[in-house]
Symmetry: C2
Subunit: 135 residues, 2 copies
Protein backbone atom coordinates (compact mmCIF):
# COMPACT_ATOMS: atom_id res chain seq x y z
CA UNK A 1 0.00 0.00 0.00
CA UNK A 2 1.44 3.38 -0.97
CA UNK A 3 1.91 6.37 1.31
CA UNK A 4 -1.11 8.13 -0.18
CA UNK A 5 -3.55 5.27 0.37
CA UNK A 6 -2.08 4.71 3.86
CA UNK A 7 -3.00 8.31 4.65
CA UNK A 8 -6.51 7.68 3.37
CA UNK A 9 -6.74 4.56 5.57
CA UNK A 10 -5.71 6.77 8.52
CA UNK A 11 -8.19 9.52 7.60
CA UNK A 12 -10.93 6.89 7.40
CA UNK A 13 -10.05 5.66 10.89
CA UNK A 14 -10.26 9.12 12.47
CA UNK A 15 -13.53 10.07 14.16
CA UNK A 16 -13.49 13.82 13.51
CA UNK A 17 -15.88 15.75 15.77
CA UNK A 18 -18.80 17.88 14.67
CA UNK A 19 -16.42 20.71 13.76
CA UNK A 20 -14.28 18.36 11.66
CA UNK A 21 -11.50 18.35 14.26
CA UNK A 22 -9.59 15.76 16.26
CA UNK A 23 -7.39 16.42 19.32
CA UNK A 24 -3.71 15.62 18.86
CA UNK A 25 -1.28 15.12 21.74
CA UNK A 26 2.37 15.88 20.99
CA UNK A 27 4.91 13.80 22.90
CA UNK A 28 8.71 14.06 22.62
CA UNK A 29 9.53 10.68 21.11
CA UNK A 30 12.65 9.82 23.12
CA UNK A 31 12.00 11.31 26.55
CA UNK A 32 8.25 10.66 26.67
CA UNK A 33 7.55 14.25 27.77
CA UNK A 34 4.04 15.39 26.88
CA UNK A 35 4.57 18.74 25.16
CA UNK A 36 1.14 20.07 24.19
CA UNK A 37 -2.33 19.24 22.93
CA UNK A 38 -3.85 20.95 19.90
CA UNK A 39 -6.37 20.20 17.16
CA UNK A 40 -6.14 18.95 13.60
CA UNK A 41 -8.60 18.90 10.71
CA UNK A 42 -8.33 16.56 7.76
CA UNK A 43 -6.03 18.89 5.82
CA UNK A 44 -3.70 19.27 8.82
CA UNK A 45 -3.41 15.48 9.16
CA UNK A 46 -2.73 15.09 5.44
CA UNK A 47 -0.10 17.84 5.40
CA UNK A 48 1.61 16.49 8.53
CA UNK A 49 1.89 13.00 7.08
CA UNK A 50 2.99 14.28 3.67
CA UNK A 51 5.67 16.68 4.92
CA UNK A 52 6.78 15.05 8.19
CA UNK A 53 6.39 18.46 9.85
CA UNK A 54 3.50 18.86 12.27
CA UNK A 55 0.68 21.12 11.14
CA UNK A 56 -2.33 21.80 13.40
CA UNK A 57 -5.59 23.66 12.86
CA UNK A 58 -5.88 26.83 14.89
CA UNK A 59 -9.41 27.12 16.28
CA UNK A 60 -8.72 30.78 17.10
CA UNK A 61 -7.55 31.72 13.61
CA UNK A 62 -9.64 29.03 11.82
CA UNK A 63 -6.62 28.27 9.67
CA UNK A 64 -3.84 25.73 9.30
CA UNK A 65 -1.14 26.34 11.88
CA UNK A 66 2.27 25.14 10.76
CA UNK A 67 3.94 24.68 14.12
CA UNK A 68 7.14 26.71 14.27
CA UNK A 69 6.47 28.65 11.07
CA UNK A 70 6.95 31.93 12.91
CA UNK A 71 8.96 30.84 15.95
CA UNK A 72 11.23 28.22 14.39
CA UNK A 73 10.15 25.86 17.19
CA UNK A 74 8.96 23.13 14.81
CA UNK A 75 7.96 19.54 15.42
CA UNK A 76 9.29 16.76 13.20
CA UNK A 77 6.89 13.83 13.10
CA UNK A 78 8.50 10.58 14.22
CA UNK A 79 5.36 8.43 14.52
CA UNK A 80 1.63 9.05 14.33
CA UNK A 81 -0.59 6.90 16.57
CA UNK A 82 -4.37 6.73 16.81
CA UNK A 83 -6.43 5.58 19.76
CA UNK A 84 -8.88 2.69 20.03
CA UNK A 85 -11.96 4.62 18.96
CA UNK A 86 -10.19 6.96 16.55
CA UNK A 87 -11.07 10.18 18.32
CA UNK A 88 -7.58 11.19 19.53
CA UNK A 89 -4.16 11.23 17.85
CA UNK A 90 -0.79 10.85 19.54
CA UNK A 91 2.05 12.51 17.65
CA UNK A 92 5.46 11.26 18.64
CA UNK A 93 7.68 14.15 17.61
CA UNK A 94 11.12 15.65 17.79
CA UNK A 95 10.53 19.15 19.16
CA UNK A 96 12.97 21.92 18.33
CA UNK A 97 13.31 24.16 21.39
CA UNK A 98 10.13 25.21 23.17
CA UNK A 99 6.73 23.72 22.36
CA UNK A 100 4.89 26.39 24.35
CA UNK A 101 4.24 29.97 23.26
CA UNK A 102 5.43 31.05 26.75
CA UNK A 103 8.90 29.77 25.91
CA UNK A 104 8.49 26.71 28.14
CA UNK A 105 9.59 23.36 26.75
CA UNK A 106 6.12 21.88 27.50
CA UNK A 107 2.75 23.59 27.84
CA UNK A 108 2.16 21.49 30.99
CA UNK A 109 4.48 23.45 33.28
CA UNK A 110 2.04 23.97 36.16
CA UNK A 111 0.95 21.32 38.66
CA UNK A 112 -1.25 21.03 41.72
CA UNK A 113 1.26 20.50 44.53
CA UNK A 114 1.74 21.51 48.15
CA UNK A 115 -1.78 22.89 48.28
CA UNK A 116 -1.50 25.21 45.29
CA UNK A 117 -0.71 25.51 41.58
CA UNK A 118 3.07 25.57 41.23
CA UNK A 119 5.28 26.28 38.23
CA UNK A 120 7.55 23.30 37.60
CA UNK A 121 10.16 24.76 35.27
CA UNK A 122 11.58 27.95 33.78
CA UNK A 123 11.16 29.05 30.15
CA UNK A 124 13.88 27.85 27.79
CA UNK A 125 13.65 31.05 25.82
CA UNK A 126 12.10 34.50 26.18
CA UNK A 127 8.84 34.36 24.21
CA UNK A 128 9.49 37.91 23.02
CA UNK A 129 12.40 36.56 21.02
CA UNK A 130 10.13 33.99 19.35
CA UNK A 131 7.15 36.13 18.31
CA UNK A 132 4.41 38.33 19.65
CA UNK A 133 1.73 35.65 19.92
CA UNK A 134 0.91 32.08 18.91
CA UNK A 135 3.78 29.97 17.59
Amino acid sequence: MGAKSATQELIGAIAFDGDGLVPAIAQQHDTGEVLMMAWMNRAAVEETVATGRVCYFSRTRQALWRKGERSGQAQRLVELRIDCDGDTLLLRVDQTGAACHTGQRSCFFRALADGRLVTLSAPLVDPETLYGAEG
Copy 2:
Protein backbone atom coordinates in the same frame (compact mmCIF):
# COMPACT_ATOMS: atom_id res chain seq x y z
CA MET B 1 -3.61 27.32 51.52
CA GLY B 2 -5.60 24.17 52.21
CA ALA B 3 -6.37 21.31 49.84
CA LYS B 4 -9.92 22.56 49.29
CA SER B 5 -8.91 26.07 48.27
CA ALA B 6 -6.10 24.65 46.11
CA THR B 7 -8.73 22.69 44.21
CA GLN B 8 -10.74 25.87 43.78
CA GLU B 9 -7.63 27.65 42.47
CA LEU B 10 -7.23 24.79 39.98
CA ILE B 11 -10.91 24.88 38.97
CA GLY B 12 -10.61 28.63 38.41
CA ALA B 13 -7.60 28.06 36.14
CA ILE B 14 -9.41 25.53 33.93
CA ALA B 15 -10.98 26.83 30.72
CA PHE B 16 -13.90 24.40 30.45
CA ASP B 17 -15.44 24.27 26.97
CA GLY B 18 -19.02 25.16 26.04
CA ASP B 19 -20.18 21.76 27.34
CA GLY B 20 -18.40 22.30 30.67
CA LEU B 21 -15.69 19.78 29.79
CA VAL B 22 -11.90 19.74 29.57
CA PRO B 23 -9.77 17.06 27.86
CA ALA B 24 -7.50 15.11 30.20
CA ILE B 25 -4.49 13.10 29.02
CA ALA B 26 -3.47 10.19 31.25
CA GLN B 27 0.25 9.36 31.30
CA GLN B 28 1.92 6.58 33.28
CA HIS B 29 4.00 8.62 35.71
CA ASP B 30 7.20 6.56 35.68
CA THR B 31 7.47 5.24 32.12
CA GLY B 32 6.01 8.30 30.36
CA GLU B 33 3.64 6.14 28.31
CA VAL B 34 0.55 8.04 27.14
CA LEU B 35 -2.34 5.78 28.12
CA MET B 36 -5.53 7.52 27.01
CA MET B 37 -7.37 10.79 26.59
CA ALA B 38 -10.81 11.38 28.07
CA TRP B 39 -12.91 14.27 29.36
CA MET B 40 -13.62 15.76 32.78
CA ASN B 41 -16.24 18.13 34.06
CA ARG B 42 -15.86 20.19 37.22
CA ALA B 43 -17.25 17.41 39.45
CA ALA B 44 -14.85 14.86 37.93
CA VAL B 45 -11.87 17.13 38.61
CA GLU B 46 -13.01 17.75 42.19
CA GLU B 47 -13.60 14.04 42.86
CA THR B 48 -10.26 13.05 41.32
CA VAL B 49 -8.34 15.53 43.46
CA ALA B 50 -10.30 14.66 46.60
CA THR B 51 -9.98 10.86 46.30
CA GLY B 52 -6.68 10.47 44.41
CA ARG B 53 -8.47 8.08 42.05
CA VAL B 54 -9.13 9.30 38.54
CA CYS B 55 -12.74 10.00 37.63
CA TYR B 56 -13.71 11.17 34.13
CA PHE B 57 -16.99 12.34 32.63
CA SER B 58 -18.40 9.95 30.03
CA ARG B 59 -19.81 11.94 27.12
CA THR B 60 -21.63 8.82 25.92
CA ARG B 61 -23.33 8.12 29.23
CA GLN B 62 -23.40 11.78 30.36
CA ALA B 63 -22.31 10.65 33.81
CA LEU B 64 -19.24 10.48 36.02
CA TRP B 65 -17.00 7.59 34.98
CA ARG B 66 -14.90 6.25 37.84
CA LYS B 67 -12.10 4.64 35.87
CA GLY B 68 -11.77 0.99 36.83
CA GLU B 69 -15.02 0.85 38.80
CA ARG B 70 -16.20 -2.11 36.73
CA SER B 71 -12.93 -3.46 35.35
CA GLY B 72 -10.65 -2.95 38.34
CA GLN B 73 -8.20 -1.21 35.98
CA ALA B 74 -8.06 1.99 38.04
CA GLN B 75 -5.76 5.01 37.85
CA ARG B 76 -4.17 6.44 40.98
CA LEU B 77 -3.42 10.12 40.58
CA VAL B 78 0.24 10.94 41.11
CA GLU B 79 0.25 14.53 39.82
CA LEU B 80 -2.22 16.79 38.05
CA ARG B 81 -0.82 19.30 35.57
CA ILE B 82 -2.57 22.03 33.59
CA ASP B 83 -1.41 23.60 30.34
CA CYS B 84 -0.53 27.21 29.58
CA ASP B 85 -4.02 28.32 28.58
CA GLY B 86 -5.89 26.04 30.97
CA ASP B 87 -7.78 24.08 28.33
CA THR B 88 -6.08 20.69 28.76
CA LEU B 89 -5.12 18.63 31.81
CA LEU B 90 -2.28 16.12 32.07
CA LEU B 91 -2.87 13.42 34.68
CA ARG B 92 0.30 11.64 35.75
CA VAL B 93 -1.09 8.36 37.05
CA ASP B 94 -0.25 4.89 38.19
CA GLN B 95 -2.35 2.63 35.97
CA THR B 96 -3.43 -0.78 37.22
CA GLY B 97 -3.36 -3.21 34.28
CA ALA B 98 -4.92 -2.07 31.03
CA ALA B 99 -6.05 1.51 30.42
CA CYS B 100 -7.95 0.57 27.26
CA HIS B 101 -11.33 -1.15 27.08
CA THR B 102 -9.80 -3.48 24.45
CA GLY B 103 -7.45 -4.88 27.10
CA GLN B 104 -4.46 -3.01 25.69
CA ARG B 105 -2.19 -1.20 28.13
CA SER B 106 -2.61 2.06 26.17
CA CYS B 107 -5.43 3.19 23.88
CA PHE B 108 -2.76 4.33 21.38
CA PHE B 109 -1.82 0.86 20.12
CA ARG B 110 -2.09 1.60 16.37
CA ALA B 111 0.40 3.62 14.31
CA LEU B 112 0.92 4.68 10.74
CA ALA B 113 3.97 2.66 9.65
CA ASP B 114 5.23 0.82 6.59
CA GLY B 115 2.47 2.33 4.47
CA ARG B 116 -0.46 1.24 6.65
CA LEU B 117 -2.02 1.30 10.12
CA VAL B 118 -0.24 -1.32 12.23
CA THR B 119 -1.02 -2.69 15.68
CA LEU B 120 1.97 -2.13 17.95
CA SER B 121 1.20 -4.45 20.84
CA ALA B 122 -1.01 -7.26 22.09
CA PRO B 123 -3.73 -6.89 24.73
CA LEU B 124 -2.60 -7.47 28.31
CA VAL B 125 -5.92 -9.06 29.17
CA ASP B 126 -8.98 -10.35 27.36
CA PRO B 127 -11.55 -7.54 27.49
CA GLU B 128 -14.28 -10.14 28.06
CA THR B 129 -12.75 -10.82 31.45
CA LEU B 130 -12.95 -7.12 32.31
CA TYR B 131 -16.49 -6.23 31.30
CA GLY B 132 -18.79 -6.08 28.31
CA ALA B 133 -18.17 -2.45 27.40
CA GLU B 134 -16.59 0.76 28.68
CA GLY B 135 -14.19 0.49 31.63
